[in-house]
Symmetry: C2
């Protein structure tokens, strides 16, 4: 399959490109300019520029477009809603409109987020796709709005789009502002003797649905073959942040004291979130296979090596 | 009641201000700068500027904020989605966030649009608020997105907001790009001998739910006292554009020939749209009272006088 990956320089984009190449796909990377990709053809694409996207599509003539570009960090969108609207919403509208206009039977896969469901009551668990989204922050608002822009065009039948709603996904390469990476980096610094044995943490009680980014990108490739619609992607179970921390501490073999950091507390949070991935399983046979222990090992090793190389 | 009207210089805003003053309310007009208002205190408010809105709210200390500001013409939003996002979505988010932040028990009334329902199948008529919105153009997308931003804050309980979804509403003062005003203006020019007796029209088959803007603004005032939620506002029945045209031609007493104008054809349209206003009626006792004949008479007289005065 000839694929164009938008947002290829991001955490998930990088893992997706690796996976597509391993599967023998012909991969073109739409990059915004921050980095280059070594193993695939790269072209500069700014999703806020409609003409540029159309040009890229005409040049690459992809069978599948994976749209992973945008702001992915919740507090960043919270601080600047206008920017989140311009990139996550208008940018996504540009991508789907360009595919629609080209009318070339393109399959689009869009990385939305399970954040769109918002505050979840216990009786809504596990979250299925039928649950009406109630986005509760600017990030999830921007993702839900992007979905609405996509649905406008998929109803016309000239573009197909699978909207993925992944729950938390982790792996090597994730930005250190995300909780697992933050813990692993802090522990790696302590293990290397580069920081005092004090770990700064936010809310440890919250229970979330964690899966491996490599399972998620495998789902993205399978979703390219499904009907237009919304698909939850996750592990199907919830684990507390405390449990993640315990597992990482065990891996790091360091003794640390825990310090609550008000900066890391996101305010009142939903106690427990986990989803059902049964719809994706029915549609394309996907289910997650990488155990959490393996994910955390790889995350810790990634940060341990980076700290060792002075790249933290 | 002390009221702040955002978008007071618009077609609906003007009628709302007139109505509020007639009811004895203390009215402050948030204007963007294009015009001034004669009968109420005016202050300059740009809804894309969060700080400015907050300042205006602190100054006025309104009990009710009527938010009618934004892009209201479908083709304008279609041409520039980024602008529609910045004004209709981010602007509305600013308004509701400022009310939320002030935490002063403000009742917000937001002018959304029945356009959010999108393409309607006959079996969904009359449209009730439970029908899931499927916005099908950039204007209705921006209105639905604004509703999502509002719902984020109303769930927190610090701001109350009635989201009005009016169907087509007409009256004196409406922009001539809208169908009734366009017909009336053309007929008035012909009646004054200022144009040849040819009327340029778009799709006349479409059946729409028309009500009088003065009924709609009366609903807005009543909705300020209701619970947060979505409320359809309309006549509860559908009339063809042809019928509107026939009534206006009869009023104008001129003989004209009809010419189809491709520029005015919006492409495939939903054949019939009308809504149920029963929820609004239950919540605040509202129902429309002004007969269509009266609305069209006033619209035609408005344009006849303007053309006579050389203001067309």
């Amino acid at each position: 399959m000839r694929a164009l990956v938008l947002g290829a320089e991001g955490f998930v984009g990088g893992h997706l490109v690796t996976h597509l190449l391993a599967e023998g796909d012909e991969v073109y990377c739409g990059v915004h300019g921050r980095s280059s990709t070594a193993f695939a053809q790269a072209l500069k694409v700014d999703i806020t520029d409609f003409g540029g996207i159309l040009e890229a599509l005409k040049q690459v003539r992809p069978e599948v477009v994976y749209h992973l570009a945008g702001i992915s960090f919740v507090p960043e969108a919270e601080e600047n809603f206008e920017k989140a609207l311009a990139i996550n919403v208008a940018g996504t509208a540009n991508v789907v409109k360009a595919c629609h206009q080209l009318d070339a039977n393109i399959a689009l896969v869009f990385a939305s987020s399970a954040e769109v469901y918002g505050a979840i009551s216990a009786w809504n668990l596990p979250i299925a796709e039928e649950l009406p989204p109630q986005p509760a922050n600017n990030y999830s608002l921007s993702k839900r709005m992007a979905e609405l822009a996509i649905e406008r065009y998929t109803r016309s039948g000239r573009v197909r789009c699978s909207i993925a709603r992944p729950f938390n996904h982790i792996g090597p390469g994730q930005d250190k502002r995300f909780v697992t990476a933050s813990f692993a980096l802090q522990l790696a610094r302590i293990a290397h003797g580069k920081a005092p044995p004090v770990l700064r943490v936010g809310n440890l009680e919250a229970r979330r649905d964690f899966s491996d980014v490599r399972d998620i990108v495998r789902a993205y490739r399978l979703l390219a073959g499904t009907e237009s619609g919304v698909y939850n992607l996750g592990s199907g179970r919830a684990l507390s942040i405390q449990k993640i921390l315990d597992m990482l501490m065990k891996l790091s073999k360091v003794q640390v004291s825990i310090e609550l950091d008000p900066e890391r507390m996101r305010g009142p949070e939903t106690p427990e979130v986990y989803g059902s991935y049964k719809k994706a399983q029915r549609a394309c046979g996907w289910f997650p296979v990488i155990p959490l222990e393996r994910s955390l090992e790889d995350v810790y090793k990634y940060w341990y090596d980076r700290v060792g190389a002075g790249l933290d």
